[in-house]
């Protein structure tokens, strides 16, 4: 009986959820993202996301991937960014650079059915094509997203 109940509860857990959300941070002040989370035995294991961080100066368009260590909230990940140091409306050229990032943080599932996710992420980006002073950016972001699709 116990086994059947557990099995039944287990079957209700999704394998995949798609979240959309927003974030605030530093030095990228605002961001919107879409994150896909892959679950294993009811726990998140991998995330992939597409994130747009527009702001007054810095612009970032990125794809990220993360692994939840021991299937817990804590994760480590990598990020591929296109970074522009000036916005499209800046006077003068606004060159785009490829950036490679590492990040670590937590994504905590909250709310009814644990459909909400609160995240806090510490990140660093290395921009190999940029001059020394701007070749490394470090920052912090925090945000909230909500599941809009699952299967």
């Amino acid at each position: 009986m116990m086994v059947l109940m557990a099995s039944s509860a287990f079957a209700a857990e999704p394998d995949f959820r798609l979240h959309v959300g927003g974030q605030v941070g530093f030095p990228y002040v605002l961001g919107v993202s879409s994150t896909g989370t892959f679950f294993k035995e009811g726990r998140p294991r991998f995330d992939v996301d597409a994130t747009w961080e527009p702001s007054v100066q810095l612009q970032s368009y990125s794809l990220g991937g993360a692994y939840h260590v021991l299937d817990r909230a804590f994760f480590v990940g990598g990020r591929l960014r296109i970074v522009q140091y000036l916005p499209p409306w800046a006077r003068g050229a606004s060159d785009a650079f490829l950036g490679l990032g590492l990040e670590a943080g937590v994504r905590i599932r909250v709310g009814p059915g644990e459909k909400g996710v609160i995240h806090v992420t510490l990140h660093g980006t290395f921009v190999p094509g940029q001059a020394t002073n701007l070749s490394t950016l470090v920052g912090l972001s925090a945000g909230f997203s909500w599941s809009v699709f699952e299967r």
């Binding site: 530093f26 030095p27 990228y28 002040v29 702001s55 007054v56 100066q57 810095l58 140091y85 000036l86 800046a90 006077r91 003068g92 050229a93 060159d95 785009a96 650079f97 490829l98 660093g124 921009v127 190999p128 094509g129 940029q130 001059a131 020394t132 002073n133 701007l134 070749s135 490394t136 950016l137 470090v138 920052g139």
Partner: protein
Amino acid sequence: MIARLAVVSLLVCAACRAPSPLSKEPAFDFESRSNPTEAAFSTEATLLSRWNDPRADSLRDFWNAGEAGAFKGVDGIELAWRIHRAPNAKAGVVLLPGRTESIIKFAEVCSDLVAQGYSTYALTLRGQGEAGRMLPDRDKGYVAWFDDYVEDTHAFISTVVRPEQPRVFLLAHSMGGAVAVLVNDEHPGDVDALALSAPMLDINLGAFPPPVAASLASGICDSTDGSGFAIGGGPYKEEQDFAKNSVTSSEARWTWKVQQLRDDEQIRAGGLTWRWLCQALVGSSRAQQSGRFSSTPTVLFQAADDTFVNRPGQERYCVDAPRCTFSRIENAKHELLQERDEVRSRVLSRVVRFFDSQVTP
């Protein structure tokens, strides 16, 4: 080389431009010309008396005899200029100062260049010196976009200098050097040769590691209007002690600068704002990386004891630029054109020899 260019192109898409087709040329040999000698230039011993001398041939009278004018730059900011014409000039030399500097500070340089047969066209950069300000607080070192400096200079060259000079050279110091490099990059044909004195192609961020400084500045510029003084900045404060200055080892030229600022409060400028720092970081980085697109004969002077700009940025630019000659000046602080005679005369004699080589190869 091809692999390096491919990697650079992949990592940076600077409008996906092709680099200069020229291959690296041999450095200009300053010793290939014997004139002018270092003795041909103004000296510290007479500077202050020449400036303050009431006679009609004083340096101050030379400066005041120049044609003064102004024009509206980007967003209507008023920019002052002063022209000193040499009879039968070999060429026109546009002078661009560094951050906080006024053009009157270059009176001695103008006098020396005119004596060598060059007409000089000194331009103030917005937000400092004799130029208009963008903020009500005149002390704040601010610029909306670094490119505004570039477009102001381009407008000055194309409307004031080019119409009367078929050959235009540019002599620029520090921040003016970054602006000069970008003018050359964005408006090819504006200048026929560049001489750069300690160009600001890589800002020394002091105690802050670059990742911290760049991230902090970007974050503040992204979340505020950036008009506040950056850490360590503040209103103008008169320098009191020559021993504490870190830009020149010439006490006479330092004293002259302090006197100018004491005499005219309109040319004073204080510390830098966050916005200026953000814009200067991006502008100087862009300038540093633009060497590979340049086909303009260039000479770059590096001050060995510079504490304001980092040397690797200058070296990178000159290695990448096919026609750049690199000249490191030992025992010299940042302001090469305001340094003690031994340094300043060496730099100026090399500048003039280089310019002369462009007039008569």
